[in-house]
């Protein structure tokens, strides 16, 4: 039945790509991008659960009997909002980090921390 499960393979691939970006890239913005991709894969996972065979979008309309399950969509709206908030906060931090350190590369950031002594400038 792997034919109808291709969705899950895609989701899994996206998940791993996202995680890989987070782990492997040193640039803070790229980490956030990876995080976003990772989160998007989870959104897709939920929505794919909700799909009912031959169901249409969960919007009440005349003449349609079968709808996809609306609850996952609702859950994902919440999760998308959470994701947006996280990204916004992350980017705000990135801006501040750039102002303070002058770089967004993790290695350089750690170097500069070590160089300025164990205490950061107060």
């Amino acid at each position: 039945m792997s034919g109808s499960l291709y969705v899950y393979w895609l989701i899994f691939a996206l998940m791993m790509i996202g995680l890989y970006i987070v782990i492997s890239h040193g640039n803070l913005v790229k980490k956030l991008i990876g995080l976003n991709i990772f989160q998007v894969s989870v959104f897709l996972l939920y929505i794919s659960f909700g799909k009912v065979r031959d169901g249409s979008a969960p919007i009440v309309k005349e003449g349609i009997d079968t709808y996809s399950h609306p609850l996952p969509h609702v859950l994902i709206l919440t999760a998308i909002v959470v994701g947006v908030a996280t990204t916004a906060l992350g980017l705000a931090l990135v801006v501040r980090i750039f102002e303070a350190y002058g770089s967004l590369e993790e290695d350089l950031l750690h170097e500069r921390d070590a160089a300025s002594g164990v205490d950061g400038p107060s």
């Binding site: 995680l19 987070v22 803070l28 980490k31 956030l32 995080l35 990772f38 989160q39 989870v42 996972l45 939920y46 659960f49 996952p72 859950l75 919440t78 999760a79 959470v82 908030a85 996280t86 906060l89 992350g90 931090l93 990135v94 501040r96 980090i97 303070a100 350190y101 950031l109 921390d113 164990v118 205490d119 950061g120 400038p121 107060s122």
Partner: protein, 493 residues
């Protein structure tokens, strides 16, 4: 009115958050936070009284009936945490006023209080809710606000610490989301009680197993269990002092509670501890946490980093307790959860006083502290003895309970790890006491001004509480007892 208490408890801090910002005044913002904390403490106490006899309070949000609607469940297993979180919030409110004024620029203070209100909301929400997705939402509210709170610390390292925490914390939260999703896919329900009823039939399902694992790994990140503890030292050490105090006493504790709630009353001990080897994994990781955390603390040169690593070790104690999956073990976990929160809160509060008066919390700056600031040093010494587990402190009571539970289950190696960790605690606490007592105050430790009364009182209130609970542990012990029976007993969930 009393029927609405479970909801009020979360709603009041939530409403206070924007109010903190609206008034644009530091005092008004502080007052709003204090009010929110006092209100939630009041609600918690009232609800504690109501569930004291083993009852359970259920509240349907918006009048929608579970399992379709979201419900809040207050019972023996979350009352200790409600009381703990709200009490710590009150103490931090009293403590934080002067501390934050000295560490944060004045234009940001209302923002910080707003974030504290949101954090309080999130924590109380995780504790009160009876719906798994709702738990995720509140977890994210709490986490996001804590990222912002940590970022407001002095120095640019706070920003990096907050970012690191954001990345790893979000990965953890998304894992929880995945797990919840898989569980939903298998059962079609998001209500904890409903899941507990439906899941036993689905135990062989691999999606369910995967979902459970995802959920637990996600919570493990939030709890900072070894080896997912990397974010904790930087986050706790670089945050503003009042924030460190609050987070150290509540953040990981609520995550631990959530783990226990999911393990015992959602997925069920039969799945988690018998089919999945989470008991053995839990005990092994707990032992490693105890040893690594305490060992790392011995090498630190900064007091707050030392305390943060010590927290990693103590999370290990709590995890060891519930990984035994016995009533005694869970009881020991709850006991140490409460006791450690009080002790660690007081230590970070004392560190905040040092930051205010000395401008630094590096260990070398503490030379001769016994002479220049005897009250603060006394607080650190007494609370430090609590970390070691000296009799007559709260730390001893919970260590005794844990040792009894471990010996009863024949877990000799974990017991040995716990004892070695306590001995390492002697080393790092002894270092602090030695530096403060036996060394001469150096020029750089000239303490400026006097300790504000509010900060001293708040710190000593927590220290005295830890001493009191060491001598008369009836209150934490009865709370832990009720919690353990509610979690593991027949009516769990």
């Amino acid at each position: 009115m009393t029927a609405e208490l479970p909801a009020l408890q979360v709603v009041i801090p939530l409403l206070c958050a924007p109010l903190c910002l609206l008034f644009r005044s530091r005092t008004a913002a502080w007052l709003m936070f204090l009010l929110a904390a006092l209100a939630s403490l009041g609600c918690a106490v009232l609800m504690a009284g109501q569930v004291a006899g083993g009852d359970m309070l259920r509240y349907e949000m918006g009048g929608w009936e579970p399992p379709v609607g979201i419900e809040y469940v207050i019972a023996g297993f979350n009352v200790p945490l409600l009381l703990l979180v709200s009490t710590i919030a009150v103490v931090v409110a009293v403590y934080g006023r002067r501390s934050l004024e000295s560490e944060i620029s004045s234009s940001r203070i209302p923002l910080l209080y707003a974030c504290l209100c949101l954090n309080l909301t999130g924590l109380l929400g995780i504790v009160s809710t009876g719906d798994v997705f709702n738990a995720f939402v509140f977890l994210e509210i709490a986490s996001l606000s804590s990222y912002a709170l940590i970022a407001m610390g002095k120095g640019r390292r706070a920003l990096l610490a907050a970012f690191q925490y954001l990345v790893i914390g979000t990965v953890g939260a998304v894992f929880i989301l995945i797990g919840v999703g898989l569980t939903y896919a298998v059962t079609g329900s998001l209500n904890m009680a409903d899941l507990a009823a439906r899941l036993p039939d689905a135990y062989g399902n691999r999606a369910l197993t995967a979902g459970a694992v995802f959920v637990f790994v996600g919570f493990a990140v939030k709890m900072a269990v070894f080896p997912l503890h990397g974010w904790l030292p930087d986050a706790y050490a670089e945050a503003p002092s009042a924030v460190s105090t609050f987070l150290a006493a509540t953040g990981t504790k609520v995550a631990i509670y959530a783990f226990m709630r999911f393990a015992f009353t959602v997925f069920g001990a039969a799945l988690v501890f018998e089919r999945l080897p989470l008991d053995r994994i839990g005990l092994s990781l707990a032992s490693l946490a105890m040893l690594v955390g305490a060992a790392a603390a011995c090498f630190q040169t900064d007091l707050k980093y030392l305390l943060a690593w010590s927290s990693v070790a103590h999370v290990g104690y709590i995890v060891a307790g519930y990984s035994l999956a016995t009533v005694d073990g869970v009881q020991a976990s709850y006991l140490h959860l409460i006791n450690h929160a009080v002790i660690k809160g007081s230590l970070f509060a004392a560190a905040g006083i040092l930051m205010l008066r000395l401008g630094s919390v590096r260990l070398e700056a503490l030379s001769g502290l016994g002479r220049t600031m005897p009250w603060t040093f006394g607080a650190i010494a007494v609370a430090g003895l609590g970390l070691v587990g000296v009799p007559l402190t709260a730390g001893f009571v919970s260590k005794w309970a844990l040792a009894t539970a471990l010996i009863d289950e024949g877990q000799g190696l974990v017991l040995a790890a716990m004892l070695v960790s306590s001995l390492l605690a002697v080393v790092y606490t002894g270092r602090i006491i030695e530096i403060g007592w036996f060394r001469e105050p150096s020029g750089s430790t000239a303490a400026a001004g006097t300790t504000p009364v509010s900060m001293g009182v708040a710190t000593w209130a927590l220290v005295l509480a830890s001493l009191y609970f060491g001598v008369d542990p009836r209150l934490p012990a009865s709370l832990a007892d009720a919690a353990a029976s509610a979690l593991l007993g027949p009516g769990g969930g």
